[in-house]
Symmetry: C2
Subunit: 324 residues, 2 copies
Amino acid sequence: MNSNVEKQYVVGIDIGGTNTVFGIVDARGSILASGAVKTQSYTEVENYVDEVCKNLLPLIIAHGGVEKIKGIGIGAPNGNYYTGTIEFAPNLPWKGVVPLASLFEERLGIPTALTNDANAAAVGEMTYGVARGMKDFIMITLGTGVGSGIVINGQVVYGHDGFAGELGHVIMRRENGRLCGCGRHGCLETYCSATGVARTARELLAARTDQSLLRNIPAESITSKDVFDAAIQGDELAAEIFKFTGSLLGEALADFISFSSPEAIVLFGGLAKSGDLIMKPIQESINANVLQIFKGKAKLLISELKDSDAAVLGASALAWELRE
Amino acid sequence: MNSNVEKQYVVGIDIGGTNTVFGIVDARGSILASGAVKTQSYTEVENYVDEVCKNLLPLIIAHGGVEKIKGIGIGAPNGNYYTGTIEFAPNLPWKGVVPLASLFEERLGIPTALTNDANAAAVGEMTYGVARGMKDFIMITLGTGVGSGIVINGQVVYGHDGFAGELGHVIMRRENGRLCGCGRHGCLETYCSATGVARTARELLAARTDQSLLRNIPAESITSKDVFDAAIQGDELAAEIFKFTGSLLGEALADFISFSSPEAIVLFGGLAKSGDLIMKPIQESINANVLQIFKGKAKLLISELKDSDAAVLGASALAWELRE
């Protein structure tokens, strides 16, 4: 009997600062069962792993047991693919270097791979999503921050140390750039994340006097969703905020194209769902800024994975790539 | 008899706008014989290929004949690795898309690979030079322009279209950036090439009034060599020009590290030979600008290949990677 045929499922675990979500996934990218635990409730990583396993194991058993599972994939902040460790993740309760992949392997006896969430998203898109069949693409995740996963020659770029692909921290404004959470100034993430959009809104509202629906909201509580809602109601200032954001992101993408000349750039996250409001300025800015030799070559695509499923699917996709 | 053992040499051909240099190279990177023709003398590419072959074939025969040659590698501006063509190279006499690799294959019956000169330099460094054994590094060539060859997972990054790795055209100054030969403004190459250094010299001399040995040279004829000569004589303005250049290059390298997290960055070309004058500001600028997670990780190295041999060696190294 061929043991490959038996192992028809994978497990995806997405570790966020607040919640950990996990699921059993088949080869077509359907989530057959899923569960969640609160990440912050477990100050000891062993207790955390116990709790995830306690919730996950019944789902595995209900789908034929451990022998049906090819592997576990984990997406986690500051995840190092080479070592299977989480290293100095500021938003997680466990300090230092945490050997998470081996903790799960020991508990469940299932091979486990781990990387950061944006790299996992790239593998998910390549396995189940809009980048199926592509050998060269760049995934950009637009969330609270800006993350990236780079695929070259069909492989995720992990770099020498396992941490490559931090395109949210490429410097876009070297003079008077915005202060970033990383301690430096002018990072892409300070402009093109959801929080960056809110920051742009506050800056523009303070610097100018023209009317805007956004003036009805206390400046400090404006979110990127508010800006979107105002823009679709025809608010010009809100539309301008998207234009600024998209234009700056396009400048960055034009540079990324000079690096790896990808077949496509895949955008994921709330901002990418803002339609022409954001996509049109991004595409115009790429066209205006990209080197002649690359003009018109890289496709600009939006992720096809459902927001709520994408993190688990991305993590699970890592497991298909595990060697027996 | 094992046919691999027989094929103990490769041929490297470096095509420049003025000269074409070629040589027969052994596995240790020794050039056993070499020759040259004037590129610009042949407006028809067929005549050019005939002339190169006429000069190359006697060298090949003197080293055991075509059956000893594993392959030919060609480094050429705008070279496309996937198709073996040179595409719209502004400094070469042949217009449009030129199928150079297949022209040589037809004439000589030897498998031929082709890429641009900076990618060839990266393969050369990986095969014979300071990047031996490295899987992840970035080669930066500092010459008239700034070129780059990126190696990830042991493979040169050619991208979707064969043209990836144009890091000389990443935008470093988005406001009031210098006009680049590519038609855009603020490219790395406008600051950190030999011509960029001369440009910085002219700008500083015009903007300031302090003494400098460089004021003895007519501004329009200042070269990066003049700036170097002045700097080693203790000229402060000249030293400042190197500091500016190195600092800006370090900013760029810090961003490149965020992309592929290489084990090393290898610098090649005249500027890289300027010692501490340039290397110290580059290293300081990398340290000051790189994302925390990558701090102190990527080594900054200088090519070990002799300037006069490097182009032929780089091109020849491509041929070792050819499949039988």
